[in-house]
Amino acid sequence: MNETGLVVKVGIADLKVVQVPDLIRTSGLGSCVGVIVYDSSKKIAGLSHILLPDSALAKQAKLNVYKYADTAIPYLINLLLERGARKYALKAKLAGGAQMFQLSSGSDIMRIGPRNVEAVEKQLAELKIPVVASDVGGNAGRTIEFDPETSQLKIRQVNKKEFYI
């Protein structure tokens, strides 16, 4: 699609922002949710790979803000605004939040996929950022790649054809 662009990789509980011609990508989303927030005319996009829904779950002295939906999303928005995105133009796309195993132990942590999706949607609603497309739930992993040029999110799953949302 473009010759000069890099594909910027985002790890687990990580967050990055790119501008054209670069693409941004995260792989192996299971119960995690990949949130893309972008400004389509400024052609700037951020991706956050969210692991857990709520920072209140943290039992950690030093909080990793990238890990939780309620801390990572506001952080991502600020970063985008600093890089020249406009608040009113921001839109979001989501993917992930699968339930990889039907674990029988009743522990709440095992429903983490749907809880992540709920938490992300709630955060975005509070910040008044519309979710224009999403591919969430199910029981398969996803690798996603976003192109700020076209605002298309490519989704790959094992044994399936790639598709765009």
């Binding site: 687990i12 192996g28 890990k67 990889m100 674990l103 029988s104 095992m110 094992v158």
Partner: protein, 211 residues
Amino acid sequence: MEFVQLTTMQKDVLREIGNIGAGNAASSLSILLNKKIEMKVPSVRIAGFDEIMELTGGSENTIVCLLFRIQGEAPGTVYLIFTIEEAEYFVRELTNDPGFTLLQSEQENEIALSALQEIGNIVTGSYLTALSDFTNINMQPSVPYLGIDMAGAVLTVGLLELSQVSDYAIVINTEISHDGTNQGIQGNFFLLPDPESFAKIFDALGINDYE
């Protein structure tokens, strides 16, 4: 408990745990397949989540894994991980179906999946029995959960408990392999104790100098 460093003593103990568990598991596998199975010296490492995915070839790499929750006094998660080819090899050996492929078949092959789960049961059962005997801590495996998907997606499940406490996990990784032919077997055991279990394991073995 946030772990950043382990003492040499603690590392040795955890390595020994991997050794005993996988040693026992390798013998079971060897009996099951009637083949010689070898194992490498286990590695104990404190790894970030992304590093753990790298151990299995990257988070997008498709793997076959059997997940077991350990129930009992020292809860945790055990993964038995194979590549697609290795898993197919197992199924072919066990079901006498030399043409078996895992991903191509239109519908799920119940016998194949059940064979894989049974391998997991036997092998992980012997892994945990050895661990349990050695530490004198009661550990019971859950039923096996089979996942054939991207490493990142399936391995994150085992990290969730711990991710609330830390950005790092202690991974006790043992590779088992079948020497000789190319279509050998290579499997990895990942033992990921829940954060509160380390103190119990160290206590049980008389090491008290953890933070």
